[in-house]
């Protein structure tokens, strides 16, 4: 470490601590820190570990519900799903590493979120991923898409957890800061949830998993800093993932968790051994002592600083019941994994690190935690935009042409190219594969299932953070509802630009408020999440992107809906009002090359009413297909159902009181399409109207084309070619 020759205050700055923060640190511990102590403190106080810019805002999220077992604060959130079982889930970002090394960055992102879930005692049963890339024609996009998708698949496929859903966005706003968010969902017994708070003075602290090397030192600080053109020169080593070792670690941990040996457990994620040991001890209000030379190491000559800050993957820290060491060791031996007792729990409230008997760090934990910086950063609200009605915009092309262009364009083209590279069927419980509104994964051995989705519409968040934040939550809720699930809870990943810019902080604040309002209204609490700030390059921040991962429950798989049209002759019923809102829509962007206007308004009471109505229809087995409306609006929704079912549709004429593009392409919220037998459809419309819910027939299933628009019928074949052809063409596979 050449840095040893610098004054400590300057080293602190290099490690990302401000001058103020350094002073507070010195006060908290009562003297100048050693190099190792400074490393520990700066990692703990990094944005990534301390949430110092976001914490005050995140408190607004509702986190309670009768079914919530564990809200934010642990490695993952936990909800009860009946039969004594719990769903354990979380989403996390791996944005910066994925931009630098797309394959390994994305792969280790998946590895990290899987560990967060199995640390809690759950067997992972599904992965999702939310990807935001730059413009399709940006010179780096193809390389990044190929690497990220291969990396996510490479890790999940190898470990044998199906990747069942996600979202893929292309937008020039992410040209230099792509977003890779990964979500894992696991299943555990509700009475066998493991947490991280250490306990029991004298109890052994055990290290298991892969060996420690010099990988990714300062990953947590990197995740907390904006890129500039010199970033390439400063690049720290990126971690390489080893899904094979993780699979062994998963099996070994679950095997040990079936015994009573573990008191607490924590994976080593960002800031490795530092954050895991500090968090376990501070949560348990105890102290911890580690003998660093006992840490299994892959490289020689690693010093205390490096050992504490290494971000080598596939490692865990556990506190065991005294005397359980041998039993535990036998299990890790069986799985050919490293196992070492590296320390013990103490009653001192201090973190003490030793190398060869010599103390290299001795920090009081409570002052470190209490003094951790919390910022109420200045913010300015995003200025409101004018509402754009359909009448305000002249359609540049006919509705049919617009449809084909949208379905075969960057935003809506099929993501098959992505999800066919993911094993989405392993574990043999994937009841709904990618391509529908939500993935459905059966609870093994039962007729019940979890429904899973990931959603966000950044262009709405950019136009109006509050509405966009609320809409992200509502869309997740809607997607779960559309398969017949009862939405239960969400996890989130808050991806934003530089929080030191008031406009960005304003976006953050607005999105959080909107999300909180929607969670409250829809009884859809936040149980876990992650914040990724500083997604900025050369002063340009990404669009605000609060990704929402939703989990719902299907109690009876016989009453599940899919989006595919089923039978010719069935009416297509639209539930919900269409007012012709075209501001910030896909149609306006992709067809009119405009991105102005306010996003569609969202009435959360209406959302709840419409969703509950539709879910009732599905559960009553009254509909043959269901699809919610989102990006692209009504006509896109119909076209997606037609393609999925390989059945055409005769469209009813657009109503007279709206320009046709307002009818077909507006993105008014809280809408669904269902099909049913003609008799049932009539009853549904009547029932909806009785309850004050707008409903009408917009077409009839049949044939092999979309008919009824101005111009020629649009054959399913041509629509499918456009829809399926775009992604392979982007990736150069048609060259």
């Amino acid at each position: 470490m050449t840095r040893f020759n610098m004054p400590m205050a300057q080293v602190a700055r290099e490690l990302g601590l401000s001058a103020d923060e350094y002073r507070v640190l010195v006060d908290a511990i009562g003297r100048e820190p050693t190099m190792t102590e400074l490393g520990v403190a700066s990692a703990m106080w990094s944005e990534h570990c301390s949430y110092k810019s976001s914490r005050v805002w995140l408190r607004q999220f509702p986190t309670q519900a009768p079914w919530v077992i564990q809200g934010p604060g642990e490695n993952a959130g936990v909800i009860a799903i009946g039969d004594g079982l719990a769903a354990v889930f979380k989403m996390e970002s791996h944005n910066h590493p994925s931009y630098i090394e797309p394959y390994q960055g994305a792969a280790t992102g998946v590895g990290g979120i899987l560990r967060d879930v199995f640390t809690m005692g759950a067997r992972p049963i599904a992965n999702l991923n939310a990807l935001h890339f730059g413009a399709p024609d940006h010179p780096k996009s193809r390389h990044l898409v190929a690497g990220v998708v291969a990396g996510i698949g490479g890790y999940g496929n190898c470990i044998g957890v199906p990747t069942v859903g996600g979202l893929t966005v292309f937008d020039g706003g992410y040209d230099d800061n792509i977003l890779v968010n990964a979500m894992t969902v696991g299943l555990a017994r509700a009475d066998r949830i493991f947490t991280s708070a250490a306990a029991g003075i004298g109890n052994p602290v055990v290290y298991v998993g892969a060996k420690t090397g010099r990988d990714g030192i300062h990953g947590a600080t990197m995740a907390s800093a904006a890129f500039d053109d010199q970033a390439a020169a400063k690049r720290p080593t990126v971690q390489v993932g080893d899904p094979f070792t993780e699979k062994l670690l998963l099996e070994a941990c679950l095997e040990l968790m079936a015994t009573d040996a573990i008191i607490s457990i924590q994976d080593m994620g960002a800031a490795g051994l530092t954050s895991s040991s500090v968090e376990m001890a501070s949560k348990g209000n105890v102290g911890i002592e580690l003998e660093l030379d006992r840490v299994p190491m892959r490289e020689t000559g690693m010093n205390a600083y490096e050992i504490m800050l290494s971000e080598s993957q596939e490692r865990m820290l556990m506190v065991l019941r005294p005397g359980a060491e041998d039993r535990a060791r036998a299990i890790f031996d069986k799985w050919d994994l490293d196992f070492a007792v590296i320390g013990r729990i103490t009653g001192t409230g201090r973190l003490v690190l030793r190398v060869a008997g010599e103390t290299v760090a001795d920090l009081p934990l409570a002052p470190l935690a209490d003094a951790a910086p919390v910022y109420r950063r200045p913010w300015v609200a995003t200025p409101p935009r004018a509402i754009l009605a359909a009448e305000d915009v002249v359609a540049p092309v006919g509705d049919g042409e617009a449809l084909v262009r949208l379905m075969g364009g960057a935003h809506l083209a099929s993501r098959r190219w992505v999800w066919e590279q993911y094993d989405h069927m392993v574990m043999a419980d994937t009841v709904q594969r990618p391509g529908g509104d939500a993935a459905v994964v059966r609870i093994h051995g039962t007729g019940r299932a979890l429904a899973l989705t990931a959603d966000v519409t950044p262009r709405y968040c950019l136009a109006d953070p509050y509405v966009g934040g609320a809409q992200a939550v509502a869309e997740a809720w809607r997607n779960l509802t559309a398969v017949g699930a009862q939405p239960l809870a969400i996890t989130d990943c808050m991806n934003f630009g530089n929080p030191e810019r008031p406009e960005v902080m304003g976006q953050f604040a607005g999105c959080v408020e909107g999300m909180a309002a929607a969670c409250e209204a829809l009884r859809f609490p936040v149980v876990s999440g992650n914040v990724s700030l500083y997604n900025e390059t050369n002063g340009v921040s990404i669009p605000p992107t609060p990704t929402v991962g939703g989990v719902g429950l299907i109690d009876d798989l016989d009453a599940m809906a899919i989006i595919a049209f089923k039978r010719a002759g069935e009416p297509v019923v639209l539930i919900g009002a269409t007012r012709g809102h075209v501001g910030a829509t896909l149609w306006l962007g992709a067809i009119c090359a405009r991105d102005d206007g306010a996003p569609p308004a969202l009435d959360l009471a209406v959302e709840l009413r419409h969703g509950d109505f539709v879910r009732g229809l599905i559960r009553g087995r009254r509909v043959s297909a269901c699809h919610d409306l989102s990006d692209g609006g009504l006509l896109v929704g119909i076209a997606e159902m037609a393609l999925a079912g390989d059945l055409g549709v005769a469209l009813a004429p657009a109503p007279e009181d709206l320009p046709s593009h307002g009818w077909w392409f507006a993105e008014d919220q809280s809408r669904y399409l269902v099909t049913a037998t003609p008799g049932e459809a009539k009853a549904i419309v009547a029932e909806a109207e009785n309850q004050g819910i707008p409903a009408c027939v917009v077409g009839t299933v049949g044939g092999d084309a979309l008919t009824g628009l101005d111009g020629e019928p649009i054959s399913l074949k041509s629509l499918r070619n456009a829809h399926e052809g775009w992604f392979p063409a982007l990736m150069g596979e048609n060259d």
């Binding site: 090394e101 390994q104 090397g213 010099r214 990988d215 690049r235 390489v240 080893d242 094979f244």
Partner: protein, 82 residues
């Protein structure tokens, strides 16, 4: 002209492949194996007679595409000779 590029992981970067191969060799009895690293070998035919120009060209290919400087290093050999 033929060129061979050896691409290896930089020191300190985890090499799960190498580790697994080493473990496997030892398991089947090759106990004298103490370390294994796995890399890539890329053989190129290039229409270029001048050694200096060929070397420069392959060097650029490594930088542009063949190796990822964040985790990999490379070495170039032309026509069998260093």
């Amino acid at each position: 002209m033929k060129a061979r590029v050896h691409i290896t992981l930089k020191d300190g970067v985890l090499d799960p492949q190498g580790k697994a191969i080493g473990d496997s060799l030892r398991r089947i009895g090759y106990t004298s194996v103490s370390g294994v690293r796995q890399g890539k070998l890329i053989e190129l035919d290039i229409d270029e007679k001048d050694r200096r120009r060929a070397a420069a060209e392959v060097e650029r290919m490594c930088k542009d595409l063949l190796a990822n400087p964040v985790i990999e290093s490379y070495a170039i050999e032309l026509d069998g000779v260093g």
